[in-house]
């Protein structure tokens, strides 16, 4: 039986980095770069397009640049990228040109996804450079929920009341769970026992089949404090911040369905500004 607890822990750390990026008004898309062999976190990245005024400063670019600046001879084939949202077409091409070892993502990127959702840049045989391995769906609903927090905040701080189109995004159910994988590839990464998730689209992947989870059981304050570069760049990580983060998400039940019954909090940018 495939135990995915490790990947869930790493993705939880990754989402926490994204959550902290909200405090500097960046879109909460984030990533970690890890040594495939030792699992050591070598670099972190979060969206940096607003501060830099550069629409290409996606989390992946920030993390790679940080790593390369510290080690010019880094072999990208030996690293794993954990990223909250499927890399966009630009980043997918970037990662392929670097020769990345593997990519694990949270939710798919419906508008720009370059690892199969819009275009399969990671695997297209017509492109130069070797394809790379990519799979997603780890903490998928949480990754979507985190993004929703950003859009809620944006709508609320808009200077004029915008035309309200799709209302109430915060309470919307999550879209169908789709994997950009063949059945065999899915089994290879997630195990045969999870095939119902692949086939129905209604369930979430869980760390252990038949067991639900809540984010605070997966990761601890200490794990989050240990993420390199995070505190220096995005402020102190303490119990209060971590609990606020946990409160943003629904739990997933043992049947693999999101439990919408739980009351969740939403990120409050204004409150944060008062506190600081």
């Amino acid at each position: 039986m495939t135990d995915l607890t490790f990947l869930f822990q790493e993705m939880a750390k990754c989402l926490f980095v994204g959550y902290r990026a909200l405090t500097v008004n960046e879109t909460p898309v984030s990533c970690l770069i890890e040594d495939i062999e030792t699992n050591e976190i070598l670099s972190i990245g979060y969206n940096y397009t607003n501060i830099s005024l550069n629409g290409t400063k996606h989390a992946e670019f920030i993390a790679v640049k940080r790593l390369r600046d510290s080690n010019l001879n880094i072999d990208f084939g030996k690293v794993r990228l954990i990223v909250s949202v499927e890399p966009c077409i630009m980043c997918a091409s970037f990662l392929r040109q670097l020769g990345i070892g593997e990519v694990v993502y949270g939710c798919s990127n419906d508008r720009f996804g370059g690892n199969g959702t819009v275009l399969p840049i990671h695997s297209d045989p017509n492109l130069p450079q070797e394809p790379y391995c990519s799979y997603g769906g780890i903490l998928r609903s949480e990754a979507i929920q985190l993004l929703r927090n950003f859009y809620i905040q944006e709508n609320e701080s808009a200077p004029q009341p915008k035309i309200k189109k799709n209302k109430d995004i915060e309470n919307k159910k999550f879209p169908t769970n789709k994997f950009n994988l063949t059945k065999d590839q899915f089994v290879e990464h997630y195990g045969k026992e999870r095939l119902p998730v692949y086939e129905s689209g209604e369930y979430e992947i869980t760390p252990i089949v038949g067991k639900g989870y809540s984010l605070n059981e997966i990761i601890s304050l200490k794990d989050l404090k240990d993420i390199p570069f995070l505190e220096e760049e995005l402020g102190e990580v303490n119990e209060e911040v971590v609990n606020e983060f946990f409160d943003l998400f629904f739990d997933v039940g043992e049947d693999g369905r999101v439990n919408y019954g739980k009351t969740i909090r939403k990120y409050n940018a204004k409150k944060r500004h008062h506190e600081e």
């Binding site: 005024l53 629409g55 290409t56 508008r111």
Partner: protein, 325 residues
């Protein structure tokens, strides 16, 4: 006279080959659906109203929907008669992308008007304007009444405003820069007022950070950061899309990464010299920059300069290695 001008090409325009001044070739997807049998469809909300409500609904659509709906429906007639129902009309309200559920549509209408909607359903209609009059008739009977306003790409080609001498000069500079610097590729970013914003050169394609397009986008943002630090004007009324009205001149067809970077940066026009077999993100792969579904498109032109094809251009083409990284 006006009518004639829309039908025929302007002197410098070659509608069949999609070229301007015999020097710039339009790079776009071949519209295979042009035979008109299978248009690309999009799903919209269609309702039935009493004819008395027509005015109100028309202004709701004009003021509160068309400016905000990302799916442009202006090639469709908005109202259509209901057969056998004298006092009733069918109308397309908006795309299902703009308002996802029936409930959203009802609430939206209630919030911005007092229009009485009688029935509502989803409907698939052609996503883009028809290429010929015959096809517009076919589509109108098969899907929904479509307006015929001429071939949209012919209209586009006739409407392009481009200072060809300026372009020629910049192409010349670009070639000079490449030659002098001994780089493998180069790019020039130019703003709306034809002012050069930056010039970049690339010496190694193995390092994606070094690609000339990525360098150019970076330089533009660094310049602007400096400016904003100096000026203490409010950030609120400044766009963060710094390249929005820029033209990028590139020595080569940019790779997939760079093309998508140009989409993210929202440039308005790209002019390039050489194709990049296998790595390119335009004519070679995907046609990024002129592709449905991504949230931005820009004009794509390849410099072909037929005028001097027999001598300068062709030898240039042979001498410079196409990029294949």
């Amino acid at each position: 006279m006006g009518r004639k001008a829309t039908k025929e090409a302007l002197e410098h325009v070659d509608l069949v080959n999609g070229t301007l001044y015999n020097s710039l070739k339009q790079i776009r997807v071949d519209c295979k659906g042009d035979n008109g049998d299978l248009p690309i469809l999009v799903s919209v909300w269609c309702c039935q109203i009493d004819t008395k409500q027509t005015q109100k609904l028309a202004s709701l659509i004009r003021d509160y929907i068309n400016p905000y709906d990302d799916v442009s429906l202006t090639h469709l007639k908005r109202f259509s008669r209901e057969e056998g129902k004298a006092m009733k009309l069918k109308s397309i309200i908006c795309s299902t992308e703009f308002l996802e559920t029936k409930e959203d549509v009802c609430e939206f209408i209630k919030e911005y008007s007092d229009i009485q909607i009688e029935t509502m359903h989803e409907l698939n209609v052609p996503r883009f304007p028809p290429p010929t009059r015959e096809i517009s008739q076919k589509w109108s009977s098969a899907y929904w009444p479509v307006s015929w306003k001429g071939n949209p790409n012919h209209q586009f080609l006739n409407s392009v405003e481009i200072d060809i001498e300026y372009v020629r000069n910049l192409i010349h500079s670009l070639k000079e820069i490449e030659k002098e610097s001994n780089s493998i590729s180069a790019s020039i970013f130019v703003n709306q007022e034809n002012k050069i914003q930056c010039t970049t050169k690339c010496y190694s394609h193995n390092d994606p950070f070094q690609h000339s397009i990525m360098q150019g986008i970076e330089q533009v943002s660094l310049e602007e950061q400096k400016k904003r630090k100096d000026l203490s004007t409010s950030k609120q009324d400044r766009s963060n899309y710094l390249c929005q009205n820029m033209t990028v001149f590139s020595s080569h067809e940019p790779c997939v990464m760079c093309c998508m970077a140009l989409v993210h940066s929202r440039i308005s026009r790209l002019i390039y010299l050489r194709s990049s077999p296998s790595s390119g993100g335009l004519e070679t792969n995907y046609q990024l920059g002129d592709r449905e579904g991504l949230n931005w498109k820009f004009e794509i032109w390849k410099w072909i300069d037929r005028k001097s094809e027999s001598n300068v251009a062709s030898s240039d083409e042979l001498l410079s290695n196409p990029i294949n990284y």
